[in-house]
């Protein structure tokens, strides 16, 4: 795969990766395009087309070998390596993020946790000690972190984002609702479960 994937293909592969990882964890060895379709809501024909593009053909009645498909998709998405992320905010949400096994399963390590509240300093979240914000620049650089996760109140989000960007972070996952301003080479992903829910409701109600 010398070419860059389109956004659509990369999004679908990411969803296959999620389903395959979980199916493997549940002890399954093979999976059909129909099963992947049920879990992703992606059309089974589309799934077969995507996977055959990468030289993977499911056998009728047998399906795809999960291990080899996982390895292939990880190679294509270049996600085999380990990635360090910095988490800012050690409140309820930060604690939930740091203690979740979801990241570790995909080779993502919460390598640093910061909080502005001195009372939280020194606590251990997901195996990592909570550090004060004034160590952010130093530790993010030292640990080669390019992904930052913001689990801070809206009012603190832009300042925290600026500190992360200043330290070299290129991808921000924003769990606050603040509208963040960043340089053009920094991607911001803002999560809003309420808006996703309204969107789901729309299709339910109409």
């Amino acid at each position: 795969m010398a070419d860059r994937l389109t956004v659509g293909v990369a999004a679908r592969l990411s969803r296959y990766l999620q389903v395959l990882t979980q199916a493997k964890k549940m002890g399954k060895e093979r999976i059909s395009s129909q099963e992947i379709s049920e879990y992703t809501n992606i059309n089974a024909t589309q799934i077969r087309r995507d996977l055959s593009n990468f030289g993977r053909f499911g056998k009728r009645g047998v399906g795809y070998d999960i291990d080899s498909l996982l390895a292939e998709i990880r190679k294509i998405l270049r996600t085999q390596g380990q990635h360090n992320i910095a988490l800012v905010g050690a409140g309820r949400l930060g604690a939930a993020i740091a203690s979740s096994p979801i990241f570790a399963e995909h080779g993502i390590t919460v390598a640093a946790v910061f909080d502005s509240d001195p009372a939280k300093e020194g606590r251990v979240l997901g195996g990592v000690t909570v550090e004060p914000l004034d160590r952010l620049d130093e530790l993010v650089r030292e640990r080669n972190i390019i992904v930052g996760v913001l689990a801070v109140p809206d009012g603190a989000a832009q300042t925290t984002c600026d500190s992360l960007v200043g330290a070299g972070v290129k991808i921000i996952f924003n769990y606050s609702q603040a509208l963040l301003t960043t340089p053009g080479d920094v991607q911001v992903h803002t999560s809003n479960p309420a808006v996703e829910l309204l969107y789901a409701l729309y299709f339910h109600l109409t």
Copy 2:
């Protein structure tokens, strides 16, 4: 708007809704397509086209009136009403969800919280008392809840999902990583921040 929106249009409108809600909270009264574009990564021309389809025209150098645009999008997405949701799981993530202002801002009320752990029963999360699972069926029916949020461990997800569906829930937000099986008229949305992050990394690294 007699016609049902396509998935793409509804997704974009949901993102405009998110940005407009936040811009209003920040005290802004007007916003340009260029600003909406910066916050959503959606092309400004596309934004202008979407909004002009609904009879909204921004004025050059002045932009759109946020209040009236918000009202219009809410009407189109039919999200003006109040929606009750049930949350299952009063652990770290559940607590973060219940105490977040994000839902309330969009007319979504966490109307019931359940947990299997008797030690959590009777606690108050986001103003709602944690109830035992054996009251789920009764309370979900009584409160007309069609949206359930799963903040439970993977191993408990399918059983919990079945109970919610049995009580009439049609939309499941799954924060576990379990692959859930549901009847055809029930939508499942599984959130996986790790996979979203790998996807973002792909575009950063290539």
